[in-house]
């Protein structure tokens, strides 16, 4: 497959992901978009009323803001490593061509 065709298909893949995540936001305006896990927690409460978690997290983010900071750091760190690796591979793959 040639490079430009590959480039287009990569953009289409990204577009697909964006469409998949934006569509629910557009069509489900009233929805709360809470975590699915929170619903599972409620379901546990329904199946076994009075169930108490027997262990507490050792550390809990002080607020939603701090939590989103930690979450975005997780994404940023990971994306940074992916970008570094892909960039390095790309640079390396182009090097011999430049030398010639």
């Amino acid at each position: 497959m040639n490079q430009s065709k590959q480039g287009i298909s990569n953009w289409l893949l990204l577009l697909g992901v964006i469409v998949l995540s934006v569509t629910p936001l557009i069509f489900l305006r009233g929805a709360e978009f809470t975590g699915a896990d929170g619903q599972a927690q409620e379901a546990i409460g329904e199946i076994k009323p009075g169930y108490q978690p027997w262990f507490k997290p050792l550390f809990e983010p002080a607020s939603k803001e701090i939590e989103s900071l930690l979450f975005s750091s997780q994404a940023a760190l990971g994306a940074g490593i992916i970008g570094y690796a892909v960039g390095l591979y790309k640079g390396r793959s182009q090097q011999p061509r430049n030398k010639e």
Partner: protein, 246 residues
Amino acid sequence: MSALSFYLVVSASRPAYGMHIMEGYLPAEWAIFWWLVALPFMVLGVRSLTRITQANPELKLLLALAGAFTFVLSALKLPSVTGSCSHPTGTGLGAVLFRPLAMSVLGTLVLLFQALLLAHGGLTTLGANAFSMAIAGPFAAYWIYHLTLKLTGKQKISIFLAAALANLLTYIVTSVQLALAFPAPVGGFLASFAKFAGIFAITQVPLAISEGLLTVLVWNWLQSYSPQELELLKLIKCQPQPHESI
């Protein structure tokens, strides 16, 4: 990529607890049971990682990339058609590249990070969460990849299916784990399973597709820029003749 992830993370409307089984939410006997099930995989996983890095130190960067992919994807809480949010797992890529045992370690590390710093998942439930996300998912991905490749001969479709189905399976296993620990008073395990699977399954379908697409994207990059590594892992033939249509 990082801007996209950042946008998605920041815009995720209301960060809620953990997408995996939360701290203290598995009765002690089940927490211990899943720890015991997961531990051998982790030990074998560490051995597998050591072997990979000793035999081919040049693969370390690719290994870091596979781990980072899981790290990013499990930070992305994406909105779904059910009006709730969940996140992809990102374990399919590494499982296909390095075999599932390597992912059992990398996936567990991601879960550990989230349990310790984000109160997302938990230490007592780490065994169960590791089993669903870092063991069952990657093994499924690996088998689905090889089965689909054999049947269709199309590598990208195989990658897509492996990543997407591993994501779905992760949440099916989570539902099984919750149903085993909390069988319904009426209908028992099956009724509970239907309930938990109902919460996770439909939510997870678009996310599984997203994960499949993102995995193929990274695969495309690897195929263009690091054919040597893929060749080393015997994932492309020595004389690259890609026949895929996508």
